[in-house]
Symmetry: C2
Subunit: 292 residues, 2 copies
């Protein structure tokens, strides 16, 4: 298929590469143009702006950092919306505001262009290996048309509902992990200050009601007070901000998520934003005097 790919960061670059290597005709664009070069070396065409990256393309992907970036590359002056033709599909894989997604989708639908929101979880490793989990909102027929492309990128593709529903699922994901990180961090601090065998304790808890991906994969970071990536705290805080904003619009009160967002705000402010988000435990450990 004729594909446009806009946004070649840590996630976007390997995703564009996978589409190219699957045999598709891919045109790429990135704000910092030099990031297009490795893709061009593999055979991608380059476009000077999002609009020209979209002209003549059947499907255009976007993978950018935040809501204002998406709005700029889609409906800005040289945005993809001005290049997309009726019948094309825009697949936004960024994590952005569900409300902004619904607005952009309505704008494009009026001109015969389908927009899917398709945020992912699974990190840069998942992007490299095509094992992302993709949560999709928007028209089911449009999803079926692009499904073969999404299958190049992810191992589970779930249609969650209408436009914005994929972003809601991603927001819920970030809310659930926020509280779980805090819960595991508090438990580990109590365990460590009690002087018990924390390895045995984590093993005993893992198979029961306290079991989680975070306990299995991040309790070790927390006990060592060392937070290698993983997923960056500043990105998780951005995502929690989106979730809290959506929740505020809907009148949903999320005190635990709000608390964790505050903890992460402090961490980012202190320069720990590029550590793994398991560093929520840094603050819990400090409060417990574990690093004195």
């Amino acid at each position: 298929m004729k594909i446009g790919f806009i946004g070649l960061g840590t996630m976007g670059a390997p995703m564009a590469r996978r589409l190219l290597q699957a045999g598709h005709e891919v045109t790429v664009h990135n704000r910092t143009r030099s990031r297009e070069e490795p893709l061009a070396a593999l055979g991608a065409a380059r476009a000077g702006d999002p609009r020209s990256c979209a002209v003549g393309r059947e499907v255009v992907f976007t993978m950018v950092s935040d809501t204002p970036d998406l709005e700029a590359v889609v409906s800005g002056d040289a945005g993809a919306a001005h290049g997309l033709e009726p019948g094309a599909v825009l697949v936004d894989m960024s994590t952005v505001s569900p409300a902004a997604t619904r607005r952009l989708a309505a704008e494009l639908t009026g001109r015969g262009i389908a927009m899917l929101d398709a945020p992912v979880s699974g990190g840069s490793e998942g992007a490299e290996n095509g094992t992302l989990s993709i949560m999709v909102g928007g028209d089911a027929d449009a999803l079926e048309r692009v499904r073969p492309l999404l299958e190049v990128l992810g191992k589970t593709i779930t249609h969650i509902g209408p436009s914005g529903a994929g972003q809601v699922a991603k927001a819920v994901n970030q809310v659930v992990i926020a509280g779980t990180y805090a819960a595991v961090a508090e438990g580990m601090a109590l365990a460590q200050r009690s002087g018990v065998d924390t390895d045995a304790l984590v093993r005993a808890l893992s198979g029961g009601a306290a079991g989680s991906w975070i306990l299995a994969n991040r309790a070790g970071n927390m006990l060592r007070g060392d937070y290698p990536l993983g997923f960056r705290t500043r990105l998780h805080r951005k995502d929690l901000g989106i979730a809290l904003s959506e929740a505020r619009d809907l009148g949903v009160s999320m005190p635990v998520a709000a608390y964790v967002e505050q903890v992460e705000t402090g961490l980012v402010g202190r320069g720990y934003g590029d550590e793994d988000v398991s560093n929520v435990a840094r603050v819990v450990r400090e409060m417990a005097g574990l690093d004195d």
Copy 2:
């Protein structure tokens, strides 16, 4: 072996039954004496008080509701401590204070009696089927002596450390599940108010970083606003109280666990203490107007 079993509640009765059916010589005692009758019908001897339940026994189990109950049945006027003989082992499977456990263990050790703290997770179903997870604190040699008995009761038996360490592990378990329940409840409220397909959303999240036993097994309760047992809220609140008290003694700050304890306090006060602890979602749903 010659066994005494004190405390025949929802957990204790099936545990005593399993030991009896495994061929051991079991004497039982319960404060409400009528609860001894079903065990007596299966061949157990009955004792009129904890002391006489311990006389001549190699191993005495206790399974009672809270710290003061344990102190009464062990070191009260007619407590088991007055009947236990040097070389015997007291195995306390209740969930009680780690600090009180260490005090009782020290008192017994001085008289040549080993005490193990061996609280469990897995609920009444685990007690019936012998599939409990047992977290053990105390002397490793004493554990080896009673291990064949614990294997009748549980499928995983983990030595966590010295006296009190089993209770610390159980406290950590309850802290971790507290925050995880709150996190999943907040996420589900956001999902439901957003109007997305919540089944698809839970499926999409379950395999990733948001995955947990609670998401897999209790998100459904939360989405339906219906909280069948499971594990009683009033018991979880009691256990969180133990964890928060231990944490206070150690100077460990656990704001999320403390918040959940407050939510549960309100639920118990309103008569919801015998619902499953997933009813933390009741308060989150109310705050989100989901039950208006």
